[in-house]
Amino acid sequence: MTQHLTERDVRDIATYARIGLTDDELVQMTTDLNSIIDTLKPITEFDLDGVTPTFHPIGSLSNVMREDTERESFTQEVALENAPKQQDGSFLIPSILGEGGDR
């Protein structure tokens, strides 16, 4: 198996993807990802010069527009129904910039 990723790389990816990993999980994830990336090798071996990529299976899509008119939509209450924490009709989150800053 080729070492495509080190544990350090996998830790960086986890941070970027916002997934906490324990040290044991990190070891297993590194093994799994390296093994999966090995199987992707055929993609790197084709002669693809001049081949246009297909980003979407239906070729002839055109932009879909509608009249910009008001419609019924979720009320604020419904939109908040599944929120783990809310306050004063808003989603509640911990501080973003850390605690104890100037107010």
Partner: protein, 496 residues
């Protein structure tokens, strides 16, 4: 004739029309069968009894008023939905702890259309977590068992949908297919499973996995029942801008024969590594039966199809990584409270909410989209997609439908395949079709000579010519009969 949970749509509707039983009785007996039998199968994650009885009462009222025929093609028919489909007031968990307590505030278009067509919605069905898998073993709420052999997997990711139909727990069900998630479980459970052309059925309200690959489709025990579901759910939806205006009449297509149709046999598939002898045998047998019914067999080539699996395992995880970024522990989904900063809450909530396979795919997608790696894998995968699409276009110049195995083997035992990369190979015959966006379905074609387990043959159609494969499927069904309920779960009343 009394209602039987083995019945198909035509039998149930004839019984309702004749007054042999009421829709309320259909709902009652179906729910009772689920409660008794699902302890063994574990296909259902939630029962929607209130919605089922409300729908049944609407059907009974229509029968009393003489307006039964004005109801849709699924009037009075038990139906259930994969748990990645929003249905207002139900939990839509995607079989993940992440969404364990999420309650849908709205209804997916496919579910709404099935309900509008008169179905009796029984509940929500188990799946691989977020549809990542081919065995339903990755469900956070425990696996589903194959009704033909409870020690084996039902396939996946729509394993709950396939097992529910195979065990007679529901007449029809909806699933979703990103790389084979309808066709492979249909093949493992011996029933009909259809992955329509991308754009045929609205994806609105279906929790997204790979947005350029996902498509919703039916499971049923007969081709005509699958056709009735297709007629109910397909067509343009202004809430999904990739859904297309389609003029299709699947039930009408079922009345056409296959005389003169050209059936393509793909050399690369029939010679593939890992294709078991018994699956190969049944596939060739199905081809011979079609030839005897008046179709012409032609050999076709898909020279780039080998690259489909690797292209899929680049594109799928990249799209999944992007789609699963929405689970932020703020608006909905699991939240691990008590963190002082938002970053800590994100990491800890996503660590607790997602299972191992979901984490692998998110991490893989994140890696593959990073600078330098994107150029090595992601962009070439989209170029390979062009080659695979061109392969299919050339093949369809020579044939109307392609016939292939649905899965290289019959259902495997729990835990038998533990390596993720090996598990991915179980989709070798189904994946290329999602990459190209074409239609495909799995049709039961008997039991394996060695394993005695169901085998499915896959029929594939060009984009938006899905009716073609229904014609061929009907010809096969004339030979093999409609799919039976798995022996252990038949109530034995259908012939009374």
């Amino acid at each position: 004739m009394a209602f039987s949970t083995d019945m198909g749509i035509a039998q149930i509707q004839a019984g309702l029309r004749a007054g042999n039983f009421t829709a309320r009785e259909v709902a009652q007996e179906s729910l009772a069968h689920v409660k008794a039998a699902d302890e063994k199968v574990h296909a259902f994650l939630e029962l929607t009894e209130e919605a089922a009885y409300a729908a049944a009462d609407r059907v009974d009222a229509a029968i009393a008023a003489g307006s039964f025929d004005e109801l849709g093609p699924l009037a009075g028919i038990p139906c259930a939905f994969k748990d990645n489909m929003n249905q207002e007031g139900t939990h839509t968990t995607c079989a993940s702890h992440m969404l364990e307590n999420y309650v849908s505030p709205y209804t997916a278009t496919c579910v709404q259309r099935a309900i509008d067509a008169g179905c009796i919605p029984l509940g929500k069905l188990n799946m691989d977590e977020f549809a990542f898998g081919s065995s339903t073993e990755s469900s956070a709420f425990g696996p589903t068992h194959n009704p033909w052999d409870l020690d084996r997997v039902p396939g996946g990711s729509s394993g709950g949908s396939a097992a529910a139909v195979a065990a007679g727990l529901t007449c029809v069900a909806l699933g979703s297919d990103t790389g084979g998630s309808i066709r492979q479980p249909a093949s493992f459970c011996g029933i009909v499973g259809v992955k329509p052309t991308y754009g045929m059925v609205s994806r609105y309200g279906v929790v997204a996995f790979g947005s350029s690959l996902d498509q919703v489709g039916p499971f049923a025990r007969s081709v005509e029942d699958a056709a009735a579901v297709m007629d109910a759910i397909c067509g343009h939806d202004e809430l999904d801008c990739t859904s297309q205006q389609v003029k299709a009449d699947f039930r009408a297509a079922c009345k056409q024969d296959v005389a003169g149709m050209r059936i393509g046999i793909v050399k690369e598939f029939m010679e593939a590594d890992g294709l078991t002898a018994e699956v190969r045998e049944r596939t060739l047998e199905a081809a011979a039966k079609l030839e005897a019914a008046g179709a012409e067999l032609v050999e076709v080539e898909l020279p780039h199809v080998d690259a489909a699996i690797s292209a899929y395992y680049v594109l799928g995880p990249c799209e999944a990584f992007s789609n699963l970024a929405r689970f932020d522990s703020v608006r909905y989904g699991l939240c691990d409270e008590g963190h002082k900063d938002l970053g800590g809450q994100y990491e800890s909530s996503r660590a607790k909410g997602f299972g191992p396979e979901a984490k692998r795919r998110i991490m893989l997608g994140s890696y593959l989209l990073s600078s330098g790696v994107y150029e090595k894998y992601y962009y070439p995968a989209q170029q390979v997609r062009t080659l695979i699409t061109q392969d299919y276009t050339s093949a369809y110049e020579k044939c109307d439908v392609i016939l292939a195995p649905a899965s290289p083997r019959t259902a495997f035992k729990f835990g038998e395949i533990s390596d993720p990369a090996t598990m991915y190979l179980s989709d070798v015959f189904t994946i290329s079709l999602n990459i190209a966006g074409n239609g495909g379905m799995s049709m039961p074609c008997g039991l394996g000579r060695e394993t005695g387990l169901p085998i499915g043959v896959q029929l594939m159609s060009p984009q938006f010519k899905d009716e073609n494969m229904f014609r061929v499927a009907m010809a096969l069904e004339k030979e093999y009969g409609t799919a039976p309920v798995a022996p252990e779960f038949s109530d034995g009343k259908a012939g009374e």
